[in-house]
Symmetry: C2
Subunit: 139 residues, 2 copies
């Protein structure tokens, strides 16, 4: 049986945060937005509907609850939830807190402008904020 | 109690398909992609987490099942599922069947190029295909 391995491109573009019951939570290395990527720790899956019914329900719960917590913690104007996978085929869900004055508003964030890598202190701070949010979830 | 009314911009950009148990299914008037928009028939909601737990589960079920059926029926390469809402705040979920040779691949479809409105016959045909898919769902 194949084991879960994080796609190398997702690994290169993110910092690890924590493992939820189903998904690995990753911080996208783009300081322009509070942006988390959830990756179900299941081998060889690229579409949500390839997961079992239970896994699908868990995935959407994790995405919705963490997204809600992020929008509140970062006082965003809108939450974007999306699973595209046109570039990286390993199933992953984007949770992006948006602001009406952010770098891409109202356009989607993908492929828009140039990612702004975190400085070390800034990354640590955002990571701590997100870990506090994750700890508060009831999953 | 407020009643559900479809946002005028969503109404202008789509053709009605059918009502699922929770959502109104709309065909996006852009022939470049098989593209359905699901709108929960609930008043004044702009984020998934503002729905009840039961509604959230139903919404994701409808999106995942219809998306799976669409990807198969239209023999797509990837399914994109997204709720953005940066332009139209009424909660709505995009289901877009993507092809590696489509007009925007691998970029997201939103704001990319110019929508190609359906011709009448083409719209009728796609509508029939989608209604057949919707009838086959177990929701």
């Amino acid at each position: 049986m194949a084991t879960f391995e994080l796609d190398p491109r997702l690994e290169a573009d993110t910092f690890p945060l924590a493992d939820l019951p189903l998904c690995r939570a990753l911080l996208m290395n783009d300081a322009r937005y509070p942006w988390v990527v959830l990756v179900p720790r299941v081998a060889s899956v690229s579409e949500v509907f390839e997961l079992s019914q239970e896994e699908q329900a868990q995935l959407w719960q994790e995405a919705t609850q963490l997204g809600a917590a992020m929008k509140e913690a970062f006082q965003g104007d809108k939450l974007n939830i999306a699973t595209l996978g046109n570039v990286v085929s390993q199933l992953h869900i984007h949770l992006v807190v948006r602001y009406t004055d952010d770098a891409s508003w109202p356009a989607p964030v993908w492929g828009n402008g140039t990612p702004k890598p975190y400085e070390l202190a800034q990354q640590g701070e955002r990571r701590e904020q997100l870990l506090a949010q994750i700890e508060g979830l009831s999953l």
